[in-house]
């Protein structure tokens, strides 16, 4: 396959950044998107240039490290992470635009790599159950109805990639935050801290400068873990309850 790539290049956080154009004739429909980028990078290095920096690790869609905006859509729009996107979805001769996640709380570190530490700080603010090591009761002493456990799992599968933020016109981290809130608040173990957790995580989200949620639904459309908007409804319900209880 012949491809033209328009890639965002930015030396560091201070640099203004710009698009640069690269071409390759060595792409193959069976390659992953990142293997295609590898080939372009090898070529750049051989020619004495600076290869394109992009984040990746597991290359199987689970670690959430990867993620770029491809032709305007985070992860490229095929229901997968960038690393699980295969070149068979592109046409020979196509021009592909590649950009980093764009959101105020995600400063660009270099080229396509952004700093997503704000997401970690939302979890630090309360996205956990306080269970000290060694103090746990027998696992089967806590019965969890299968529907609850299945529903919790549907939210727990979030990989924390940040595509939801990049897709949202408001730059909101609502789907990310709501997925964790919904996972933990659905389980019996999560009940004692249910309302403080919700309030603290939402407060941190606001503090980081993420935008508000106005129900566009762009987030769930690009989510590689297929987390749906019901997470947000659950969060809003618990946030309201937290306010009524005077926790938030």
């Amino acid at each position: 396959m012949n491809l033209t790539l328009k890639v965002w290049r930015q030396k560091n956080a201070q640099d203004a950044g710009r698009f640069e154009t690269y071409t390759t004739s060595e792409a193959d429909p069976e390659m992953s998107f990142m293997e295609m980028l590898d080939i372009v990078n090898q070529d750049i290095i051989r020619k004495g240039g600076d290869p394109i920096a992009f984040d990746h690790d597991c290359r199987e869609g689970i670690c959430g490290t990867c993620g770029v905006v491809i032709n305007g859509v985070p992860h490229g729009g095929h229901g997968t992470t960038t690393c699980q996107l295969y070149m068979r979805h592109f046409k020979d001769g196509e021009t592909i635009t590649i950009e980093p996640w764009r959101a105020r709380p995600f400063p660009v570190l270099k080229d396509l790599i952004v700093d997503r530490a704000a997401l970690d700080r939302i979890i630090v603010a309360g996205g956990y159950i306080s269970a000290s090591t060694g103090s746990a009761p027998d696992a089967n002493g806590i019965l969890v109805p299968k529907p609850d456990s299945d529903a919790a799992m549907n939210y727990a599968v979030c990989i924390g990639c940040g595509a939801c933020v990049a897709a949202c016109p408001n730059g909101s981290a609502m789907l990310f935050t709501a997925a964790k809130v919904a996972h933990l608040n659905l389980l019996p173990q999560g009940q004692p801290e249910r309302y403080t957790r919700t309030a603290n995580m939402v407060a941190q989200m606001d503090k980081e400068g993420f935008g508000g949620c106005t129900n566009h639904g762009e987030c769930t459309a690009v989510c590689p873990a297929h987390i749906d908007m019901s997470a947000i409804a659950r969060l809003n319900r618990d946030l309201l309850a937290a306010t009524l209880k005077g926790v938030a």
Binding site: D38, A53, R59, A117, Y128, G134, V144, D150, V157, Q189
Partner: protein, 658 residues
């Protein structure tokens, strides 16, 4: 201890590839009946007064199951913990990718499981090359792990009554594997990560993401710190502490293609080896039978299809050599369900090393399927017929999706194609019962240590070991070490830190200054090919020698002709990779030497010279019933120490799954 900055370029001149030594550090296992050892040991441990704990700094490198759980638990106990990882968040450690499940001797199904049976299965599964005392403790602690994970909110699969569900894994005849769909590692790691976040919130753990450890610092022979590189700014920095805990995962990426995350590396443990830590059984590498076959030259990684799929899938190839018909057109009686045929009592759930070799054998016979004949079928058709598509979807949905993305084939309609791939390293830094290396104050947990899995790990046991080490063992043994040690005050102004910082800076500069013709990947790929071809699933003396002879040449090529673009003081992914590959180029050599010296077959290490007439691996207990613990010896040959293994409880026997 000699410190070496210059890479060692020692050509292989003669047959004497190593020195042998009679000395071996003690294993520190307590005396008495095995079932009482851990309790007794814990009782005998010294304690640190809670108000004093804050004064001690523990450096934990790694935020996977082992490192994350250790950092969180030590922080919870009140120690001052610094935790490091190379990813941008601790939640992304490679443990996240584990799919199938975690073992525990809960016996919730009342199917005859017990701590003793898990202990027995693990020792036997490891082909009698693990230390009994450690394995027993692992089995004992396994039951607490599940309790801990559930309390932390891990959404394990449940039955309709609300109880936990389990499934079977290879090498076991009981269903002791707990799981969360096909994302067990993800859910366990997120549980650990959330606990870690809680300690970060409390100010007990300081997290250093995007920070790579490049050296360990010894002061008077004791581990007192590490050297790191900030992967965003490029700053090389020193951190001092009272104990160093390495939980940096396995080194399977020495093969270039593997199921590991691309960043998984050996640097932390290799640097420790070069500072004097013994390296145990480096050649014990697990090659997993169920991975998606290689597609092309450009391939950057291999993807696992969880072993759990073997619960519901049947492995087969055509009976006829060169039968190219599509699978659907091959009638039942022309298919060879070879695992069921060769191992009737374990069938498709034969252990990994055995299943991998069987796959290699049928492919070598010319009966492999798919491109290049390097594949076998894993067929779900019978299970889909029996249980319905929905049940299979529920069990393996995300794996099926992944398979379809990668291959473009629908696994509900055509059988999955699989082939063995490098997956896990049983070898690693040698540790005693306390998980301390032979360097005082240097602890090693998780896949990074030489582990409880002997020469072959059973499925779903790595997650168990990582959490056992991280939640329960290290948080007991590290404080015991702290309580019983008199620490001399050390800061990063100590000459040992200065020297190590300087060495790291020199090395980085040197890599950047070569500016040769080959990319890091060019050389890395070649190294991977040499490792796979000559130190892979079947090993023999001639091949091993051929491979061994190639490594120094590759290393020389690297240090003379590699091109690392960019600068040191910036985010530089090629520089990161170059450092890791430089270490793999040295580690690879030690793996060859270890594989050459062990002329027996055991577990995953199959020496073609040592087999029974039916092709099964032949162990040599008389000569090799030991852990090979290698000591770095500067530019000279490494020194082999031996930890002899005694089997008091599980009697030595030929491992049979027939």
């Amino acid at each position: 201890m000699a410190t070496v900055v210059e890479p060692r370029i020692a050509p292989v001149k003669n047959d004497n590839l190593w020195y042998a030594s009679d000395s071996m550090p003690p294993d520190m296992a307590p005396s008495g009946p095995i079932a009482e050892m851990w309790d007794k040991h814990r009782f005998e441990m010294k304690l640190v007064n809670p108000s004093n704990r804050r004064k001690f700094t523990i450096l934990v490198v790694g935020s996977g199951l082992a490192g994350g759980a250790a950092a969180a638990t030590l922080g919870e106990q009140g120690y001052n913990v610094k935790c490091f990882c190379y990813q941008d968040s601790p939640r992304r450690a490679h443990s996240i990718a584990a799919q199938g499940g975690i073992n525990a001797a809960k016996n919730y199904r009342n199917d005859g499981d017990s701590i003793y049976r898990l202990f027995y299965d693990t020792v036997k599964g490891g082909d009698f090359r693990a230390r009994e005392s450690n394995v027993y403790r692992l089995a004992e602690v396994s039951v607490n792990i599940i309790d801990q994970c559930v309390a932390a909110g891990v959404p394990f699969a449940r039955e309709y009554g609300g109880l936990l569900d389990t499934r079977s894994f290879g090498g076991a005849q009981v269903a002791r594997t707990f799981y969360a769909r096909g994302q067990t590692g993800q859910q366990l790691l997120l549980g650990v990560y959330q606990g870690l976040c809680r300690q970060i919130d409390r100010g007990m753990v300081k997290m250093y993401p995007r920070t790579e450890m490049l050296d360990v610092v010894l002061v008077d022979g004791v581990a007192r710190g590490i050297i790191t590189r900030d992967m965003v700014t490029g700053a090389v920095e020193a951190h001092a502490g009272d104990a160093v805990v390495l939980c940096t995962g396995g080194y399977g990426n020495v093969y270039y293609l593997s199921t590991y995350a691309r960043g998984s590396n050996a640097t932390a443990i290799w640097r420790a080896y070069k500072r004097g830590a013994l390296f145990g059984n480096p050649c014990f590498v697990q090659i997993h039978p169920t991975c998606i076959p290689v597609k092309g030259e450009y391939q950057s990684k291999l993807t696992l299809m969880s072993e759990s799929v073997r619960n519901d899938g049947r492995v087969w190839v055509p009976k006829k050599v060169g039968d190219n018909r599509p699978p659907g057109q091959i009638p039942e009686d022309e298919r060879d369900y070879y695992l069921e045929r060769m191992y009737p009592s374990f069938g498709n759930l034969a252990p990994r090393d055995i299943a991998s070799r069987a796959a290699k054998r049928v492919c070598d016979e010319g009966r492999g399927v798919g491109p290049g004949g390097l594949g076998v079928y894993l067929d779900l058709a019978d299970s889909i017929k029996r249980l319905g598509k929905k049940v299979i979807e529920e069990r393996y949905g995300n794996l099926m999706e992944m398979y379809e993305q990668i291959t473009g084939e629908n696994p509900y309609e055509v059988p999955i194609r699989i082939f063995p791939a490098v997956h896990y390293t049983m070898g690693g830094l040698w540790v005693d019962y306390n998980l301390m290396s032979n360097i005082p104050g240097l602890f090693v947990g998780g896949e990074a240590n030489f582990s409880d899995h002997g020469a072959n790990r059973l499925g779903a046991s790595a997650l168990m070991q990582g959490l056992s080490d991280g939640y329960f063992v290290l948080p007991s043994t590290v404080p015991d070490y702290i309580a019983s040690t008199k620490f001399k005050p050390v800061t990063t102004d100590d000459p040992a830190f200065k020297e190590a910082l300087n060495e790291t800076n020199v090395r980085v500069k040197r890599m950047l200054s070569i500016q040769g013709e080959k990319t890091v990947d060019d050389i890395y790929r070649e190294l991977g090919q040499v490792m796979w071809e000559f130190c892979g699933m079947g090993r023999n003396d001639a091949d091993l020698r051929t491979g061994l002879a190639r490594i120094p040449k590759l290393r020389e090529e690297f240090w003379q002709n590699v091109r690392v673009p960019g600068e040191g003081a910036e985010l530089n992914q090629q520089l990161e990779k170059a450092g890791r590959v430089a270490d793999f180029l040295e580690l690879g050599e030690l793996m060859f030497i270890d594989a050459l010296h062990r002329t027996e077959s055991c577990g995953a290490h199959f020496r073609e010279e040592s087999q029974y007439p039916d092709g099964e691996a032949k162990r040599d207990d008389e000569n090799f019933r030991y852990v090979a613990a290698w000591e770095y010896n500067g530019a000279d040959k490494p020194v082999l120490h031996k930890e002899n293994l005694d089997f008091e409880y599980v009697h030595l026997a030929v491992r049979s799954y027939k």
